[in-house]
Amino acid sequence: MRTHPVQPGRVALVTGGASGIGLGIVQVLIEAGLKVVVTDVRADHMKRAQQTLASAGDRAVFFPLDVADRTQWSDARRLVEERFGELHILCLNAGVGVLGSMLESSDADWTWITSVNLDGVLLGVETFLPHLVAHGQPAHIVATSSMGGLVVANDGGIYSTAKFGVVALMEGLRQDLRGHNVGASVLCPAAVNTNIFDHERMRPATFRQSGSLRTEDELEGMEAFAKQILAQGRDPIEVGKMVRAGIEADKAYIFTDQNVRSTLIRRRDALLAFT
């Protein structure tokens, strides 16, 4: 039986690790005795995470990373190899929770959402999979998809396109890596108490030209609604514990709650209706 890599002294890298689910995963892995490279594109979140994780000392290393930038991924790999030698757990968690009409979307919407939510995961796999396989020690990749990676809504087409792809990637990798030292899981969160509601505000200037531009009032209303819903959701540290358990048990799918169940059954039954 394959042993798992959640062991003191092992090394993890978490993208989008300075807030929300990413930070929850980081905290749980540090608690388990791992050294963690915390990466994030947001300087404000990194600063806060440094304060939150101060007691971890040099077991938490902070590295700014835009997951859509191949060069920065190469730099991250160099940092891991020079500082620690090997990486054992790769959590491809960074994402932007931006919804909106597919039909009204702009080139910028498409490029931004897919470059973070899909390409950011593909680049992580491209950068670190050869490394994980080559060192031969127990290793694991977890990618964060969403309940929107299994079912669709009527206003999140680009998001679901990318998240369906992430589920498929991890299902495929799991097959490809059978018998190897590297496990693969996909995390499909639903209601988690994170800052996903303010992602529209972190849109880089390059991608400012959105097809579904909203007024400040509309944006504030949507944020308040999402914040109110998510405040009732899982604590990110609870999710971090679920991810840890998922890695230890080498689970294919990790869910945070049962909210997607009824919709997923409807999707399955819709397919079955055509057999």
């Binding site: 390409d119 396109t161 679920m242 409807r266």
Partner: protein, 226 residues
């Protein structure tokens, strides 16, 4: 006379011949090749001359590529995915403006699951499935319908596919399944996912956040029994 336009993501000659065999005339869309951006691809469809009633996007199975570690994700996944998005949303915008229309995505059955093809191709195909379902959901309140017509990934004879494609263009069901997509296969794909959900504690319930499942409503999918 209304016509059907089509485009092929990867120039699968067999799929093109299937479309050419449709009883109604089908014309190849003059779309920019290669690395075109979303708005350029959309314009090709929105500005295509003549009355158009339907658009078919043919998605081939593609070739088994190298190991995942050596994959050129941009060429194999991201560029064709953007192409699919530009063309499908271009068709959606045009038909929404004109008040009605049919969009069909012709895709290999391997897209449904479980994972049995090269991972890069699986990522592309599954992303396109999510895209097509989401487009159907977004257009649900209009007279524009989006159908996914699957063909057997392992059978290059594609028997009966012309008839199923023609039926989809006319009846606009959500799905049309090839014979290899059996109920056992569907159950087999969803069972471990549902099992994983059942092993998770229920968690706080989400309040009503809108018509999340409406697109899968049995009364709206156009299934033979619905």
């Amino acid at each position: 006379m209304m016509s059907t336009l089509y485009a092929a993501l990867d120039d699968d000659a067999l799929l093109v011949s299937i479309i050419a065999a449709l009883p109604q005339p089908a014309d190849r869309l003059a779309a920019p090749a290669g690395d075109a951006d979303v708005s350029t691809l959309r314009r090709a469809l929105e500005d295509a001359p003549g009355p158009v009633s339907a658009f078919v996007l043919a998605v081939g199975l593609g070739r088994t590529g190298p190991a995942v570690a050596d994959t050129d994700w941009r060429r194999q996944v991201l560029t064709p995915l953007r192409r699919a998005f530009g063309l499908l949303t271009g068709a959606g915008r045009r038909f929404r403006r004109e008040g009605r229309g049919t969009i069909v995505v012709l895709a290999p059955s391997a897209a449904v699951g479980p994972a049995e093809i090269a991972t890069p191709q699986l990522v592309l195909l599954r992303s396109i499935v999510g895209m097509a379902e989401a487009l159907r959901a977004e257009l649900q309140d209009t007279m524009v319908r989006v159908s996914l017509v699957f063909y057997d990934s392992a059978d290059d004879r594609h028997e009966g596919l012309v008839e199923r494609l023609a039926a989809a263009l006319s009846a606009q069901p959500m799905y049309s399944l090839s014979d290899d997509i059996t109920s056992e296969r569907i159950q087999g794909y969803f069972a471990p996912i549902l099992q994983a959900i059942d092993q998770t504690s229920a968690g706080p319930p989400l309040p009503d956040i809108g018509p999340m499942a409406a697109v899968y409503d049995l009364a709206a999918i156009g299934a033979p029994s619905s």
